[in-house]
Symmetry: C2
Subunit: 510 residues, 2 copies
């Protein structure tokens, strides 16, 4: 059967060039027909030749331009029937029902389906309450049913327990309880997946330390569900802010032979260590070496030592000096053996870089950014509000600027006093440094002198120096540790609770 798959794939690709020459659409016709396209499925003969594609390619104006799907079945089953692929629809979520200003009262009388996980089940004499959460918001959908509901036997038999996934159909009614405006009067309940009695997320409060050992299940708790949603809102607000201000997102490289900070502790990335994933038996002797016993880096994947990046800044500068304003948003790494509540070995960083800009522009941008993302406003849930008011904004952020040059990185622009650099840090309560930024040294001779002072290898920075050699511009930027922003917005004490799967010394589980 393997061969069929390959042949089918090859055939599907091979027809494309033939089709291609017939398909010199102009963009207008493309844009008007593509969105309205009907999407069809088709079953294919053994060596498929999609008749639908061919016929439409030969019959402009392509009003039925389509995606085709082919089922890889035996040749006997091959047919040329075309059936429509279902439309992709946004699922109805609890947040959609209860998230509006009326908290669901506008949906009274509507019949709807909710899917999710059972948070609690209370069986009373005449009526049973099931609280369902689907992760779309903090709030559960309270479902009320009596023994007349279809599938109620699954409640009676004890199959539906905390942690089980269920499907319920019912009608939105006004709630008698004070905790919510509406609830679902259930007509039908279906157990989708039962939950083993060992389910570790029970109603009693689990410690955050314990939940870190259950990182795969902790998003099912109120706290970590909320953190995930706030984190998501912050990430999207970040993209939105920069996009709306004309910045271009640049993917800075993760694996690099450069060391931006000059002295960061980096993870080595290698294929030299002979290690299969199923066994940890790796003989040291098998590592290739040259005659004097040193590692033979020429045999490594990249032909020389390579590391995980500590910052995308230098790379971002290359794009800022071509596209004017850019930002990175990606993972960065520190191999520091810091087992604290403030450090991660792997964390996400946002690094904007502004061309034709100085430190004042940089500070203004950092401030505007922070004000923008904690104005993500209309997506706020009460959970966020509570965190923000009670925990995060317990004081004023402070920016400190113009640090002594000796304690700062080589690329920061020297101030006229000769002793300080145009650097700035934004400090926030509880977190400490949230943002660190600087104007970059755009003057080639200053930058080279600084590299010499610090005994850094100028040759390794040839491309970075080139940016000062060809049309150099004043530019500035900053770095923001995204998990610290999540802490700032949520009030989580430990940074390990601000990222889904924290990596710290001795911990790369999940």
């Amino acid at each position: 059967m393997g061969a069929i798959g390959v042949a089918a794939a090859a055939a599907a690709i091979s027809i494309a060039p033939k089709v291609a020459k017939h398909l010199r659409l102009n963009l207008n016709s493309f844009l008007t027909t593509f969105p309205k396209t009907t999407i069809t499925t088709t079953t294919m003969p053994l060596f498929p030749r999609c008749r639908h594609c061919l016929s439409s390619s030969l019959s402009p104006p392509f009003s039925t331009r389509s995606f085709c799907t082919a089922t890889l079945q035996s040749s006997d089953a091959a047919a040329t029937a075309h059936t429509k692929v279902g439309e992709f629809r946004r699922k109805l979520k609890v947040a959609d029902v209860k998230g509006g200003p009326d908290q669901g009262l506008d949906k009274l009388g509507q019949s709807l389906v909710i899917t999710g996980w059972v948070r609690t089940l209370r069986v009373q004499s005449s009526v049973t309450f099931v609280e369902i959460n689907d992760g779309s918001c903090l709030s559960n959908m309270q479902c009320v049913m009596d023994s007349g509901a279809e599938g109620y036997d699954q409640v009676e038999s004890g199959s539906i327990t905390t942690g089980a996934s269920i499907w319920v159909q019912g009608v939105v009614v006004e709630s008698q309880g004070s905790k919510q405006k509406v609830e679902l009067k259930v007509n039908k309940i279906v157990l989708v997946g039962k939950s083993d009695p060992s389910f570790p997320i029970q109603k009693k409060r689990a410690s955050r330390e314990f939940l870190r050992t259950k990182a795969h299940l902790r998003p099912r708790t109120n706290t970590f569900g909320a953190v995930a949603r706030v984190r998501n809102a912050l990430a999207y607000a970040t993209h939105k802010f920069f996009q709306e201000n004309g910045f271009i997102w640049v993917a800075s490289p993760i694996i690099t032979a450069s060391d931006c900070e000059g002295a960061g502790e980096q993870f080595c990335v290698t294929t030299l260590i002979p290690n299969s994933h199923e066994t940890a038996d790796s003989p040291v002797d098998a590592i290739p070496k040259v005659n004097n016993g040193l590692i033979d880096w020429s045999q490594d994947f990249f032909g020389k030592p390579a590391f995980l990046t500590v910052s995308g800044q230098l790379n971002a500068e290359t794009y800022a000096t071509a596209l004017s304003d850019v930002y990175t948003f990606g993972p960065t790494f520190r191999a520091e053996n810091s087992n604290t509540s403030r450090h991660l070995a792997e964390f996400w960083m946002i690094e904007p870089e502004l061309a034709f800009a100085d430190l004042n522009d940089d500070m203004a941008c950092a401030t505007a950014y922070l004000q923008s993302v904690v104005k993500w406003g209309c997506d706020l849930q009460s959970e966020h509000e509570r965190y923000i008011t009670e925990e995060a904004f317990g004081g004023c952020p402070v920016i400190i600027r113009d640090y002594p040059k000796d304690i700062k990185a080589f690329y920061m622009r020297q101030n006229d006093d000769g002793r300080t650099v145009a650097a700035m840090d934004m400090l926030v309560p509880k977190i400490g440094e949230l943002i660190g930024g600087s104007q970059r040294e755009e003057r080639l001779e200053y930058l080279e002198a600084r590299l010499d002072d610090l005994k850094l290898n100028k040759d390794a920075y040839w491309w970075y120096l080139d940016l000062r050699r060809y049309g150099s511009v004043p530019h500035a930027g900053f770095g923001l540790g995204f998990e610290r922003l999540v802490q700032f917005a949520t009030g989580m004490d430990n940074i390990r609770d601000a990222i889904p799967f924290p990596r710290t010394p001795a911990s790369a589980e999940f």
Copy 2:
């Protein structure tokens, strides 16, 4: 001076708790005052205590709630004056001037400033033309000046050449040329950074192979500037599509002890190799080993072998089975020694995961996604249009589904025929596989049997199996190689030209 910086930072943090207890804002007052806040700078005494923060914290209703900046100057310079930080303004770009439907005609007579890099300079008898590009669009701003313009001596002296960065002020006038509707009649020109005559991006067309060796300068070319902008548009469109459909972005881990695909070739991440960045001299003997000569992994950073992820899917599944619909968008890695135009060692992947969903939902989502991001519509420049119509859409995308189970990964859901799995690939012309997805096996017993069949270690997947043990749900997802999408949208032949800094065998430069 180092001590001052540290002390100042410490002092700035230490005041926060004192401030905190006075700042129990409710969200409404916070939201109304925060956006309108005035942002002030303040210079600080040697051990700064921000009087502004303290006074506002003690004087509700906090109408002057502020960010403060402190200059780390000597104690003599300390003062308590507050000055406003400048407002952050979106810079005027060439795209803002020429990007509208009138191509700039609506701005006739306006005086404005443009900054950017010189693409070409033509000195004619009575008038000089300078084409400036700022990376905001393919189009240059044509600047026209005569010898009366302030700073014209820099043109005469030959300082302003291709690649130099300049600042020009002028008035928008109708262009006499046929290539643009408007141009800038320059009153003043300032050379910001000259360009060394060795500037390698000259007007004559450079090959893409050559430009790969100049990855730090290639975004200054028409082609790579356009690719960067299309890439950015695709990334933002991706976030937009999933956010608007209720998906939550999840950061799947980069460093992992898991191996999703079961047999991917992975990079090892280690701190065991004694390597300083400045020298590649790393003795093999210095690697810690246990008695039998095997590497002593207990001394490695994570206490065991760790790798760069090949996929975030398994992790995404843990969040999908808590939050319903999620997606990842992050870097993934393959240590395959494939020196082809189709492979990268480091690439970005988009991996949506849908709970309560089957393969049909998955295909519908993949199709809707692709249609959505190539409708990014209003951001289209003519450059994109040309690529899209002439190169990318030279045929129909095809989805192939239901592959033989033996050629697919362990986590795919077995179809009722017992021989195939609910997998799907979307193939597009020239690129081949753009999207690969599947419904996931949600039945614990099937999944365990499959792991046994493939002789995979079930213990290593304990947390993945837990998802089937506690409230399992039908779910599905797909992975899309982002650089292939960029190729699809731009028509770039080589995937190394679809990412800013490609990583391939023997290549981790920049």
